[in-house]
């Protein structure tokens, strides 16, 4: 028995600018499939970050705003507060969310803002050329940690899902991965669950997605998947860290 497979309606036809093997493309598809399945494209507003995904708006057919670096959660707050009927999601990278935007994400989560965050964690700044991110691993070489991340100098990588799950306000916080088909299927379920919590006006929702960055990791896409599995997943444990009662 086989399955059909086709591009979701919410995705445009435009080929992406992402590097070969970059899993941004997978995550875009999962979000678009979710928007299709929930039939919400006409009332959804996405917010693109500053980073590789700044051009995400070229790949979605719904309304979009483009944020300043790190400020997407504040923009989403503004939209959702004045138009609670709209479905709002931010799509952010690790530099955007966990570095410059840490204040915004913590407070949006703590206020229980009813929007959904898709947080792509690939342990490096992609767009600007592979610099160290808050999620860069100890010893991981980047263009700004050429001898490897030195935890004595810059501390340990930040576990965003656990950090936000410590907040008392009810929320849906989960970490998934898209480095293999099994992970992708589970990530899709989590993304759908996140949007459903939003539609029910239930709580803030964030899906952290462990991803690859072959170009800036200096690996082939297949090697990047292996490195992510061996190095990232043990540190960034998958699972649901917070579910509203």
């Amino acid at each position: 028995m086989g399955k059909t497979f086709s591009k979701p309606r919410s995705l445009t036809d435009q080929p992406t600018h992402y590097c070969p093997g970059c899993t941004h493309g997978v995550i875009h598809r999962l979000v678009a499939e979710t928007i299709d399945e929930l039939d919400i494209m006409e009332r959804t507003v996405g917010i693109a970050p500053v980073g590789c995904a700044v051009l995400a708006y070229n790949y979605f057919n719904c309304d979009f705003q483009e944020a300043a670096h790190g400020r997407a959660p504040a923009m989403a707050t503004g939209i959702k507060r004045v138009r609670p009927d709209l479905v709002v999601f931010t799509y952010q990278g690790d530099g955007d969310l966990a570095s410059i935007g840490m204040g915004e994400i913590v407070h949006a989560a703590n206020r229980g803002e009813k929007f959904t965050v898709i947080f792509v964690n690939n342990a490096v700044y992609g767009m600007t050329g592979g610099q160290m991110a808050p999620t860069t691993m100890p010893g991981q070489r980047t263009t700004t940690s050429p001898r490897g991340r030195n935890v004595e100098e810059v501390g340990m990588p930040i576990k965003v899902a656990e950090l936000l799950a410590a907040l008392e306000t009810p929320a849906y916080i989960t970490r998934q991965t898209v480095i293999d088909p099994k992970g992708i299927r589970k990530a899709k379920k989590a993304i759908r669950k996140a949007f459903e919590y939003q539609l029910a006006g239930r709580c803030f929702s964030l899906v952290e997605v462990v991803s690859t960055c072959p170009t800036n990791w200096g690996m082939t896409p297949v090697e990047a998947v292996a490195w992510a599995r061996e190095t990232l997943l043990p540190y960034y444990q998958l699972g649901e860290f917070k579910v509203p009662e």
Partner: protein, 76 residues
Amino acid sequence: MAYHHQIDAERCKGCGLCVAVCPKKVLEIATAVNTRGYFPAYQARPEDCVFCAICATMCPDVAITITEVEEIRAAG
């Protein structure tokens, strides 16, 4: 029900993830470049394809589609 598996050679960036995950080892990377300079994946052994869509699930570029096609009646 019959299916048709297709890789859009122009959209594919030759990342090789589909080749790696295909449970039936159907796919390979072509030796000819597409117009954007990538070596796209293709079905080297289409007869082995079971249309499980694992490759399509893994593809970051939505370059793989699987569609249903009418049973091809035996001729005559």
